[in-house]
């Protein structure tokens, strides 16, 4: 069965932001930074890595990990796409969500 990458990743990120009490998590933009603006932290990165590994079968030990590769929904989708190439199980879908407003960053800023 084919898995749509982008909706799946977006759903996960939104849930993660909600879990942290991030009120604007519902409207997160695909290009919006997640880690470099403090909305998610390295603890969330761990959870996200395990989600990607389990859902998309990626081995991060082979990817040469850098947190920038998970810094937005676009980056995660690109990482999964690059790693899997043209694998049929995973289907890319175009970005659908509008860019989130610039001021949606957390108060840690």
């Amino acid at each position: 069965m084919a898995i749509e990458i982008r909706p799946r990743v977006r759903l996960y990120v939104t849930q993660r932001l909600r879990l942290k009490g991030d009120g604007v998590g519902v409207g997160v933009g695909d290009a919006e930074p997640l880690f470099s603006n403090g909305r998610l932290d390295s603890l969330d990165a761990v959870e996200m890595i395990m989600f990607i590994e389990e859902t998309f079968g990626i081995n991060f030990a082979e990817v040469d990990f850098d947190l920038t590769r998970l810094d937005s929904i676009d980056a995660v989708v690109a990482l999964i796409g690059r790693t899997h190439g043209a694998e049929e199980r995973f289907v890319h879908s175009a970005s659908q969500s509008p860019a989130a407003p610039r001021n949606s960053a957390t108060a840690r800023e």
């Binding site: 879990l19 009120g23 470099s36 390295s42 761990v46 395990m50 990990f65 850098d66 108060a107 800023e109």
Partner: protein, 516 residues
Amino acid sequence: MTDSGSAPFAAAAAVTMPAAQPSPTPASRSWRQIADWRPPAWRIIPAIDNDPRLIAWVQRLPGRIVLVFCFALVLHSGTGPAAAGLAAACAYAGRYRWHVIPVATLVLLWWNGFWVDGEIVARVAAQEGLAQWINRPLLMAGMLGFVFVLFCCAIGLWHSLAASWIGRRSTLVLLLLFLTLAAIGEAPICRGLPRVVVWSFLATVLPFFWFFAYALGDVRAGGDPAPFWQRLGLFHPFWGATLTPFGKGVAYLRRVEAQTPADLAVTQLKGLKLLLWAALLSIVLQLFATVAHQYLAIPAYDDAFARQIAGHPYPWYVCWLSLFAFFADDLLQMAAWGGTIIACARFAGFRLLRNTYNPLAATTIAEFWNRYFFYYKELLADHFFFPTFFCCFRKYRRLRVFFATFMAACIGNLLFHFMRDIRFVVEMGPAKALIGEESHAFYTVVLALGIACSQLRPRSITQSSSSWLRARLLPGLRVMLFFCLLHVFDAPLDRVHTIGQRMDFLLHLFGLDLWL
């Protein structure tokens, strides 16, 4: 600053659909009112970074002049005015920003003696009977030049090593090299001038060690083709740092760099806002110290601990007060000091995240650890947690998180402090220096277990929607109590006091020393 706890909390609460409840009795209604109470959202420092007119004004020349003046005025102590001027030069240099940074860093490094601990070199030279024969300033200047050439060569070389086994384990290689050299420096065969040279090298490398580790990590990741001098320009950047890099390396800073004049204006206003907050915390810190230690006569923690060791302890409740005061003092100091550094980096045009962010709002040990000293936590995560996490126990989800956390919060933490205080090896000898770490080792083990357990506890949306008292206040108090008690094993952070002495103090806090 805002009390950020309430707004996200309300949003999270809105996510969950509440179940139908029977109509409450008056008693349960009043209890519910107490339980549902939340602190009001208010600001001490206005949100100047959200005012469009102000953002537009500080992009013009008069606005810039006033902004720089205000920033320099608040940042008035120590190298503050110089740092403010350098930050302004960096901010307004536009596309030459990355050329200004190395120059600015060099100026302040020169000012601060390149952070090299000359006492280590002096002590080793004295131990070897060479104090009068060695020109210490010349040796240290020569060593500094040699170390920086070495850094340049290594950064250049790492491009070709990036894919190799060594290249992918840059931090491990650096740690092994450093500790091996320290062992050689204390080996019986290494005596006289060679020992002075080895320790001079280690003392020179030490302040830049983690900056170098980040630089090699950036080279390995390969995302940013920055020349070596840009990377070196961030070794103890002019906005401030300790051994812990605030802002990591070039790759991270590029991501948070202001790209447009409007973006720069917002970033600088955020910097000014944070600096005002840090200044306010410094005032609160002084007031707190005056009230707690002078008016209320709460002894300093070190004093209470020393009295316990001497056999004349203060009453247990005084020791508790002393411990709480120490904890509060530590939090305020960390927030004020880290805030000033981040404010300066923001003024230079880098929208770095705050170092200490509302630690009292933490409801888990892992969250407190993340909020207390962000860039140190990031250092341990980047250099210890993730490398372990990707390699070990990949099939066992919980064990994998637990082990990686342990490697970072315990082993990494311990190694970091052992290296930071490497002078103890010279002063006390390697055996005593290692044994003296027992108390801090215990601290890191307990800390790692605490963080790992709190990480492994599942969080849920429904949990975050329960009352403020139950979901925020009580867990927050538990977390603070944990860190307060943990401080007994790392304060004062020396190699003299044994774990037994610290355990006695802990027992005294609970009044158990009379029973045992």
